[in-house]
Symmetry: C2
Subunit: 171 residues, 2 copies
């Protein structure tokens, strides 16, 4: 399903989602980023059916996010290790963590991101490296890049100086 | 499927994924953040089956990310508008955009994030608001929060001062 979408899409968001596939894959990546490498450990943590887990792990290997490294031949067993590309997905996981913590944790904070050098709770913020401004501000807009095809140019027309959307107080 | 996972999970990442459901929902949110509000426009842009789109939009409304606002009764038609919670998902979309642009765009940049006040290309970076440091550094680790249940405490044991993972050069 996801594969069909991105075949015709140049959009880096669509392509990213195509590499991930679904929520299970993102939860696998979440746990891999916590250091989980073994099939049985993923299965126990996620409560996912073995056949489903196999399919997702194979897809993540094929997409270049994980690497399968055998550690036993009898029986055949392997570690699933993150590639550089897979490790870089940490920024998406942290963005999801922050969004979820802001909106779906009425009872309080169950999970923190901690700066281990100070012990302080971290407050993730997505900024523009150049200006230092939060990129969630309406002044930051998507626009077609140099290799954009006609479809993408049509979708992301000349960047408006004014936000196209009503701006909420929550972001 | 995603719903089943989060029923037992306190993890804000799992809860977030539960609200989104799948890749289609994230692509709907991507387009909504570009200003798309109407069923037909979502359908044309995404090439998604109407029944599938209806299901995803209803789920996003139910999850509190979108709001259905009727603009015609004969025939019955509605705009789908982002709530504050839905608009805040922009940070996740931008994180996905940056990750996809870094890893799945061998031909060059098809999409840019632009600072419309300067015209400069933005470089999204996820930092810790307190220290100003990128939170993708291994010094930032997840740890159980004050309301964490036993399951979550077991998963996110005492934060190690050393990174649990081999650190790649790519992140």
């Amino acid at each position: 399903m996801a594969a069909a979408k991105s075949k015709t899409s140049q959009c880096p968001i669509a392509r990213s989602l195509d590499r991930i596939g679904d929520s299970w894959s993102m939860l696998i990546l979440r746990d891999a980023l916590q250091g989980v490498t073994r099939f049985d450990d993923f299965q126990t943590r996620l409560g996912i059916a073995p056949s489903m887990l196999t399919r997702r792990l194979n897809a993540l290997v094929e997409a270049g996010l994980m690497e399968r490294r055998p550690y036993s031949t009898h029986p055949p067993r392997a570690d699933y290790l993150l590639t550089d590309c897979g490790r870089a997905f940490r920024s998406v996981i942290i963005a999801l963590f922050a969004w979820g913590g802001d909106h779906f944790a009425p009872e309080g904070k169950s999970l923190l991101l901690v700066d281990t050098t100070t012990g302080a709770e971290s407050e993730p913020l997505l900024i523009d490296r150049r200006s230092g401004q939060p990129v969630t501000q309406p002044r930051f807009q998507f626009a077609p890049g140099p290799v954009a095809n006609a479809q993408l140019r049509q979708r992301y027309v000349a960047t408006p100086a004014q936000p196209a959307l009503p701006v909420g107080t929550g972001s």
